[in-house]
Amino acid sequence: MSFVVPKETYSGKVYEVSIGTDKVASFGGENMLPFLSFEGTAKNRPLIAFEIQDIPPDDWPDTVKKVYEGVSANPVEWAKYCQDKLGAKAIALRLLGTHPDRLDRSPDEAAKIASDVLAALNVPLIILGSNHVDKDAAVLCAVAMAVKDKNCIIGKAQEENHKTIAAAAMANNLKLIAMSNLDINLSKQLNILITQMGFDKEKLITDPMCSALGYGLDYTYSVMERIRLAALTQNDVTMQQPLLGDIGMYVWKVKETQALEADLPMLGALEDRAVAWEAVTATAFMIAGAELLIMRHPKAVEALEKLIDELM
């Protein structure tokens, strides 16, 4: 008897999200677990966005900071560099300067920066706040108005500020990231609350939180995996949004992406190790189900794109 590959059939499907107006990028839309193409159809590749900031990346480790030397003082130049020189398929602009502990930049200033960056790009733009719940509500409202109808993603809406931010995204016809803190039930609840406001469930992206390899990746991985299983095997419409892996900000904070080889010889050469750390972390989340990834180092992105080529 010949061997027959056992196949799962899934009752559910992940929503497909398309962003951008000039060059449109799509992600999600699959009816199978990641890369198990013998069981279903993957409509799209995972989309990788390059992370940039409205302020210079002074607190990024040298390995990744030096890549953007000369452009990172200006978010427009930085964005264009990623798009034109590094071939970015999407840009994620983090408005870190709006945080009260940073420059406490005003919502209007932030909105101006976001629309300047958007005007310079033809790839899609994701605009993120500084992860300060009150400030993000004000900043993202102003940003949403400035990029109205431009098919951007804004975020992140959290339990404490989702009403304001979701309303802004809805009024300005934008996609929205809903973020919860590493809890599958709260993630579902937040999606329910946002859609109960009338927000289109097909314009939502779920961020169940991320972590770096070696720093709790197993927890974040299994939350994502369980969300994807609920979407596919239980046909849970509140969990069928594409998942975001906001990877760079976690990876480039850990010791392994910063420690010099001279100090920790057993870890090997710093640059190779740091790039690998980001690539391996991103790979794990992609395998868990993330369809949208935000990353920092072009070499890590390149490695991931190559891996996707091989797996698709």
């Binding site: 579902k188 369980r226 239980q234």
Partner: protein, 260 residues
Amino acid sequence: MLIIGEKLSIIAKRVREAMMKKDKGPIQEIALRQMKEGANMIDVNIGPAEDHGEELMEWMVTTIQEVVPLPLCLDTTNARAIEAGLKVHNNQWGRPLINSTSNDPERFPIMEIAVKYNAQLIGLTVGKGGLPADAEERSAIASEIMARAMEYGLPLEDLYLDPLVLQIATSQDHALKVIKTIRMFQELNDPPMKTVVGLSNISNGCPKHLRPILNCYYFALLAYEGLTAAIVDPHEITPVSKTIDVIMGNTLYAHSYLEM
């Protein structure tokens, strides 16, 4: 769990009057309400309907499906009325269910109709000789119905076995026997046989304030044993059904799970 709304029954005065006067209003209102309360299918009980049964069932099916995009459960002993209903049933909303056949030879022709119209069928595990005594007897009757279904060419996955819920007030010992039967029915085939109950019969004859309590707890016990479908008041049972799905891990918990 397949929730079949029981409220369109000739036993209810308002429904009976609407059926007699061919007044669409109350029928459509009750059907729509049951859907909103969580019904996945609507039971259409027109009684024995010996006179004008065909015309009545046809009118009921078209009247209900005019407003409710759900499949129907056609509930009468009149085989010609069933056939008339199946002819006009809109299968776009799902396959109809016939309520019911049993191990009584007089009820066998309905199997032919089920096959002809690609309908699903409820097999009530009673024979001509009266009520089954226990779970074992119910299973024996179920096996005979299954054998008969195969003879007629009805796929076993289209057959729902009904153990016949009896009144707790008069047949208390059968409450537990029926729970055991649900477990046994599933073992009669691989994949497991589907099962269905007319739930509210458990509390028939009980004081009004006790009925929802008896219905809900009994439903929970049956659901735990793997019941596939239930003919119920969806308003009463949907929250219980959703809660059991959460407890059994069939749906992911969120604070708003009852609203979904």
